[in-house]
Each structure stands twice: as C-alpha cells, then as structure tokens.
C-alpha cells in the first residue's frame, strides 16, 4: 500500500506540486475563471480521483497478495516438513561394511538436492552399528559409515564444511532385538539438522 502511494506522489504528482504552489490556498473560489489555475485545479481533482481509484486497487492487490502469501506460507511450511523428512531418512549398511548401498543412493541424491536448495543448511551424520560386532571396534565402524555418507554428499558437490559426523557405535540401537530384522535396521546412518533448517525449500 505504502509503496503504491509513494510511487504516485513521485511520478504523476510532480507537476501538481508546482501547480498547487502557484494556485495559492483557495482553488475553489477561482474555479469559474478558465485560467491556468482552474485548469490546474481540474487536473488536481481528476488526479485525486485517479489516486483514489489507484488506492482502492492497491488495497485489493494487497489483500490478494496477503492471501497468496498466507497460502504459500502454509505450502512452504508443508514443503519444509516434507523436505525435513526427506533429509532425515536413514540409509543402511551391510554387516561390517561401510560402503553406500545402491538402494540408498536415491535417498542420498535427494539430500544433495536439498543441501543445494538450502545453502544455509548444515547437517550432522551419525553412524550406527548393530550389536554383533565388538563394542569398541563398532565406534570405528560407525565413524566409517558416517564418513562414507559424508563423502557421497561431498563428491556430489556439497561443501564438506556443512557436514559434521559422529559415531555412536552400537550404543544407540534404533530397534531393540537380537535378530536380523533388528540388526539390519540398526546398521544405519542418521541425518539431522545442525542449523539453517527453519524454512527448508523444496529442491
């Protein structure tokens, strides 16, 4: 609204300001005389009505803009949540392995796109293991897994400085249980937002 008014004052109003100052303070009394002053007054009146119309249009435009903004904020928020979920999706590993499985590359490519679309986003990758290996060796293995995921992102163009890593070994199982189903879910890398994750944009 304000920007619209300001635009009119500066553009169309330049001549009016000059006319007003020439016409003195009583333009209505001079109206019958078809002189320059009354022409200026007529111009002024016409201009006022244009201003009013413009103001009304601007108000409507503003209302629509706010509506659109509200709609798109809701959409953005929904998109941010969706993006956040995509970012948090885990990847998994084979027993005692840290290489990226081909069925996880799609999920990692998605994370690459998200990181590219959100340049302020910083993430942390946590590497985890199942309970079968040695407790302490699993800290090294979990580290390998986190590094392996990080390397994939970096090799696809993401700045290494945006990605922290950590290893939890087998200390934080996702699923309690002592069978292959639990183990395979626990051999994983998790992705969490460190900063810049407030209004995530869709890639």
């Amino acid at each position: 609204m304000k920007s619209v008014s300001l635009f009119l004052a500066l553009g169309l109003g330049a001549a009016i300001v000059v006319a007003s100052s020439c016409g003195g303070k009583k333009p209505a009394q001079t109206a019958p005389t078809p002189n320059a002053d009354s022409a200026a007054a007529a111009d002024k009146a016409r201009q006022d009505s244009i201003d009013a119309a413009n103001a009304a249009a601007a108000a409507e435009a503003e209302r629509l803009r706010r509506q659109r903004e509200a709609d798109s904020l809701a959409a953005l928020s929904a998109a941010a949540g969706e993006v956040r979920n995509m970012l948090a999706s885990m990847i998994h590993f084979d027993l005692d392995k840290s290489n990226i499985r081909s069925d996880d590359m799609g999920a990692l490519d998605q994370k690459v796109a998200i990181l590219q679309a959100n340049p302020d986003l910083r993430i942390r990758i946590g590497g985890h293991c199942d309970e079968r290996g040695s407790d302490e060796y699993n800290l090294a293995l979990g580290n390998r897994r986190a590094q392996s995921a990080k390397q994939y992102l970096v090799s696809h163009g993401i700045d290494a400085g945006r990605i922290e890593t950590q290893s939890w070994g087998e200390e934080k199982p996702l699923v309690d249980g002592h069978d292959e189903s639990a183990w395979s879910q626990n051999r994983r890398a998790e992705f969490e937002v460190v900063s810049g994750g407030d209004n995530l944009r869709r890639p």
Binding site: S134, D135, E136, L139, A140, L141, N143, W168
Partner: protein, 421 residues
Amino acid sequence: MLPRTGMGLDSVRAIVGRDLDFSDRFEIITLPAGDSIRLAGTGTPSSTRSSSTRRSGGTGGAGGAGGAQSTTALNYPLYQALGADFALDVTAAGDTTVLTLHDIAASGIRRTVRAQLPKSGDPSFRMAVHRLADQALQAALGAPGIAATRVLFVRDGKVYRIDEDGADQQLVSSTDRQAMSPAWGADGRHFAYMEFQAGKGWLYLQEMATGKRTAMSTTGTALDFTPAFSPDGQTLAFSRATEDGTDLYTINVKNNCCLRRLTVGRFSDNLSPTFSPDGQRIAFVSTRPGLPQIYVMAADGTDQQLFAPFDYGVTGASNAPEWSPDGQSVAFHRDVAGTLQVFVLDVRTRTVRQLTSVGRNEDPTWAPDSRHLAFVSDRSGYRQLWIIDLETGRIRPLLQQSGERLPAWSPRLSEASSSNP
C-alpha cells in the same frame, strides 16, 4: 560360591576363605566338623602341595586372647594324615586380627600376621581383609595374590567398580552422559574412560578416591576412545576417529599435553591400544588386512607388524587385545562362526589358542597374576561378567547381574590406592 554383599553378613573368615578359594591355587574341603577347611592341591605347578585352613572362632569371644596360643597346639599329625599342607587360623585378639599360617609338613608356624582392621561397616574394611588373604597366599606359596583388586566395568552407559570377589559394587561415573572403555592407571589410583558429549568422544582422567576428573588435552575435537595407560603411567594411548578414519595417538598424562600420532591408516582403522608391561611395545587392532586383526608396534609407532596369526579369508575379526601383566600373553576376542570367543596369543611363539567355546565371550581383561581373565559372556543366557583361571580352567561369574560389559581389572591395590572418599 556366591558373595554376600552386606558388611555385617560377611566375616573376616568368610572373606579370606573365599579369597583363597578364588585364587584357584588351593583345593578347599570343609571337614566334617564344619569349622575347619582343608585345602588340597590343584595340580598346578605353583601349588602341587595341598593346603588346609583351620579356622577357630572368628567372631572373637572365647577364642579371643587364647587364639594364638591354641593354634600352636595344632594337631599336625592329624592334618598330615588328611593330606593338608597348610592350615590357616584367623583369630581375634582384642581389636587385632591375627592370621596364622601353619606349615603342616614342617609342624610349625610359617607366618603370623597381625592387623588392625577397620570396623566391618567401614568402606575400607573389605579391601583390608583382601590384603590379609593375599598375605596368607604369599606366605604359603611365595606368590602374590589378587584378592586386593577390583574390576571396573560399564553398565547402562555408566562406569562401576566391584571387588574381585563380587562384593561392594559402586558407581564411579560422575555424570549422566554415556561412558565407555574404563582403563586403570598403573598405580590403581586413577582411571581413564571415554564419555560421549555433543557428538564427540571425550577422554577423562578420574581420581578413584576423590572422583575429581580432568578432561585430557586435545580431547573433544573428535571421537576419542579406548584409552590405555603406559605401565609407568606417563602416557595415555588412545584411538581417535576423524574423517580420515581411526588412528592411534598418545598424550603425556602428567603435563596433559603433547599429542602424538602413532599410526596413519588412511584406508584402514587402527584402534584399541594396549602396552606391553615393559612399555616398549603396543599391541592394537588394525583393519589393514580387511577384517580387524591384532597387530603390534614399538611404542613410538615404528615397526608395525601382524601379531596374532590368522588365515586370510577364513579367520574372523579379532578385537579387544589386552597384554598380560607378565608380558607373555595377549588376550583378545575373535569371531568364530558368527559369535565371539576369547583367545590368548603366546607372545614368544606367536601362536594362539582358543580359551572359550560356550556362548559369546568377549572383552577379556587380565588379573595382575596373569592367570585369571575377566570377560563378558552370555553363557548363562544373558550377558554378564565371568572370571576364568587359565591354569585350572575353573570359571565363575563375577556378579549375578546382567548387562555388564567392557571390564578392566585393576593392578594390585595398595592401601593408599584403594582408599575410599
């Protein structure tokens, strides 16, 4: 034999008797009278003789002042006839506890030890009694015992300590953060451990008596884990995981400074260091052959080579090495058919032998006598700590709870090193 943990329930006699039993150097048989115990040899080289303990009224009273006198009147021929080599008297004379070791074959007293024990409710009482038991063992066999020792372990992310006989369990972790890998300092007064904090692994040094803890120099920048003290206590070796993988480092403990890198793995991980008792070498785990196996190097990181032999493509992953206090062996665990078993490497011949086969067995730690190992086993159906004697093969649970892991057996604890806060 299971420990009773209540101070009032466990007399000096019972503790000493159990300590001698747990030394696995005697065979103890209760005589029909029930008040005396006979010890027969276990067939080990160091104790081919049989031994016997006789106990007179340990709770004071009538036995009191006359105790020492009456023990000299021991019926040696009777004990000889029973096949005993030693008899042990534990008596009370006022506030002094008198321990008398009789040499049955020589028909005389081998040694008498007098001690003023703390009251039975005192936190230092049990350790004082354990030291008495070790003195009896030393007098009988000329070898130091392991009764006055403790084991650190992890349960639910916290560090606990427990006496070697399974009594007096105490929490020693000072925060709620998840901890791993406790390791004793050589003096028994300190221990180091790793704690997860803000996505990193921090190494801390803690005084046992006061609980005062110090973050080690340069820790908190990466994932530091598996600390191990050099025998002189001056150096702490540990594993550090970075984006280059996991490698071994040392720092100077005394000045808490001077980080030094020992391995450069690049495409392999190097972890879990353990010093030889002369401090000259470090055994460790390396993944350079593909699977983790046991390697050794000079303490400065040079001369890295395979330590425990394995068959490429056949032998499973090997981890968690610990060098024995006598320097002759390295205990570790190895994956055998999908589960873990404890192995011992003979350092001189570089041959390995499998020690366990029932259930999953892992993370062995040596007693200071280099013949007992504590380890984690699920042989009873759940994971708990067990102790095995390598000479006799005798095995016992350290405590009847589940979820314990990563045990670390202390050195022999002197009076100063075992004091409580």
